[in-house]
């Protein structure tokens, strides 16, 4: 067993760190200041074109 897998250390680290880590992951998936897609070509007659 290593130090970091000891139940007290592990649970304290995960308990306090899990929530901010979850928020960071969510923020990384939806970065601010960037559009939510980029235009990769429009389809004639389409209202919105193609987004990716």
């Amino acid at each position: 067993m290593n130090r970091w897998s000891f139940v007290v250390v592990r649970e304290v680290i995960a308990g306090i760190g899990g929530v901010p880590l979850a928020a960071v992951v969510a923020a990384a998936l939806c970065p601010a200041g960037r559009p939510s897609g980029r235009v990769s070509g429009g389809a004639p007659g389409s209202l919105v074109g193609k987004w990716s």
Binding site: F6, V8, I16, G18, P20, V48, W51
Partner: protein, 537 residues
């Protein structure tokens, strides 16, 4: 007299729905995969975790600790795979889903409106109300699907169906609630940052209400006011209550009605409240290369300082409770000693273990800042500066000085936050001991800085990865080496293997000097490379 709008052609409506789905499908799939994957992992490894009766007893005792109960929630049904899984990952997955729901909603509605894309979209046959509703529905599908898959994963892991359905439904509904809250904020505030900030504040406050309700028995009723509290009150696998889920659904419906009412009463790019259209010029720290480097680091430093400060404040607040728990449980203290944590029952020992982790976020911060320097070069924002009669060394030196100073601030703040937390709770931990402990990890941070500067000179594309190797890579190497009992020389490759447990012990000056010397060497070689190479843009 009102004028009836002509009905929106179905093809136009479907096109908007497809657009909304395209904007969130990738991140939605990742979030769903992470939540179901984490849950499945914990549920399927439950038997292994509980195979050792001592470990099971330790975990049960630890779960009853007030500090742990506040963080993880009220332990219920820990003797079952389902109850343990809900307790272990339920809060983290709920926060992940809630935060994603908020960010995805404001991004695909208010963010698109801010950027001007909806001007074109709404110039067609689709009205604002319908565009908002279709985007709202597209985002809501993700938590709904996540909830269904979550229930499926838990049932497939062998847990009882009733508890799995309650937990899946509760988590999914919590995500739906935060989609509706974010959409409502996006109708009220004319700007994505304000809308996102308000919705995130709602998430933070309601999570805090759940923690207060779980941590203080007399305040247990307060959980009825929070989506996270309602999720906990549903009691999957133990109580299986439906009423909290009905209240979550009612909350989401009420917010959605508010969204549609607000969308009918505002102008495009506007909100229910007015936005400031100008601000006073900010001319501070624009007087030179060094001042400008400091100016650019201040805003990210504030964000990182809030996050790291809050984390270590919580560490301080829980330190007395956790160390006291170890002192009162000799069996667990023996296990700690067997894991090489002889002094975990002492606040200084507990702090020394957790201070080592600080090198990772601070090392990551330095790598990100040096990466921002390369990004400025790539975007040609650095070209004007580089064209001035300023040497390359002075240019990168200004960035390095600002980054090193900011790292010192972050590390010191973490020490002060821990000291504040312990002192507030009545523990015995001196401010000097706290600062000695956090400053002890600085050589690892300097290694990260040196590696990042080296990459700027010789491999600028890889600055983020190379800068993260000493801190994050070194920590992972240590954990893996200790877990598989790797040879000593493998373990010693990690900088963390050479950190003394300060403030419990004295600083290992030899190891610190060697690591700092290596960092200086990497920096000098990086400077040499940066002087010789062309600008990337």
């Amino acid at each position: 007299m009102s004028i009836d709008s002509p009905p929106v052609p179905a093809v136009a409506g479907r096109a908007v729905t497809r657009l909304a789905i395209r904007q969130i499908r990738r991140s939605g799939l990742i979030v769903t995969g992470l939540i179901t994957g984490m849950t499945a992992l914990v549920a399927t490894t439950y038997a292994q975790v509980m195979a050792d009766p001592a470990a099971a007893g330790s975990l049960a005792a630890l779960a009853g600790n007030p500090a742990i109960r506040t963080l993880f929630g009220e332990p219920a049904g820990l003797d079952t795979a389902g109850g343990f899984t809900v307790w272990r990952v339920g809060t983290v997955t709920a926060v992940l889903l809630g935060a994603w729901a908020i960010l995805a909603t404001t991004r695909s509605t208010r963010g698109e409106e801010d950027s001007g894309r909806w001007d074109i979209l709404l110039a067609g046959r689709v009205r604002l109300r319908e565009a908002v509703l279709r985007h709202l529905a597209a985002v809501m599908v993700v938590p709904a699907v996540t909830g269904c898959l979550l229930a499926g994963v838990l049932i497939a892991s062998g847990t009882p169906g009733s508890g799995a359905v309650i937990h899946g439904a509760g988590t999914g509904l919590l995500g739906v609630v935060f989609v509706a809250v974010a959409a409502l904020a996006a109708q009220i505030f004319p700007g994505r940052p304000a809308a996102t900030g308000t919705a995130v504040a709602v998430l933070g406050v309601t999570l805090l209400l759940r923690m207060m309700g779980d941590g203080v028995t007399a305040l247990g009723w307060i959980r009825w006011l929070s989506p996270f509290g309602l999720l906990a009150l549903s009691g999957p696998y133990v109580h299986n209550r439906v009423l909290p889920l009905v209240l979550l659904l009612a909350g989401a419906a009420a917010c959605t009605v508010g969204v549609l009412a607000a969308a009918d009463r505002r102008e495009i790019r506007g909100g229910l409240v007015a936005a400031a259209t100008s601000r006073r010029p900010r001319l501070g720290l624009l007087g030179g290369t060094q001042a400008f480097a400091v100016r650019r680091v201040l805003r990210p430093l504030t964000g990182w300082a809030i996050g790291i400060g809050a984390y270590y404040l919580l560490i301080g607040l829980t330190a007395v409770s956790v160390t006291g728990f170890l002192t009162d449980n000799p069996a667990m203290a023996d296990q700690a000693a067997a894991a090489g944590l002889d002094a975990l029952g002492d606040i200084a020992g507990f702090a020394a273990v957790l201070f080592a982790l600080l090198a990772m976020p601070v090392g990551g911060f330095t790598a990100v800042r040096m990466g921002a320097f390369v990004a400025a070069e790539n975007d040609r924002r650095l070209t004007l500066l580089a064209a001035q009669p300023i040497s390359r060394i002075r240019l990168i030196g200004a960035e390095l000085t600002a980054t090193v100073g900011a790292a010192m601030v972050l590390v010191t703040l973490a020490g002060l936050a821990t000291w504040c937390g312990v002192t507030l709770i009545g523990g015995d931990f001196g401010v000097v001991a706290a600062l000695r402990g956090v400053w002890n990890i600085l050589p690892v941070v300097w290694l990260s800085v040196g590696a990042a500067v080296f990459a700027i000179g010789w491999a600028p594309r890889w600055v983020g990865v190379v800068g993260g190797v000493p801190a994050t890579g070194g920590f992972l190497l240590l954990v893996v080496a200790e877990s598989v009992a790797a040879p000593g020389w493998v373990r010693n490759l990690s900088p963390f293997a050479h950190l003394a447990p300060v403030p419990l012990a004295t600083v290992d000056w030899t190891a610190s000097a060697v690591m700092t010397g290596l960092a200086v060497l990497l920096t000098v070689v990086g400077f040499a490379g940066y002087r010789r190479r062309d600008l990337r843009s």
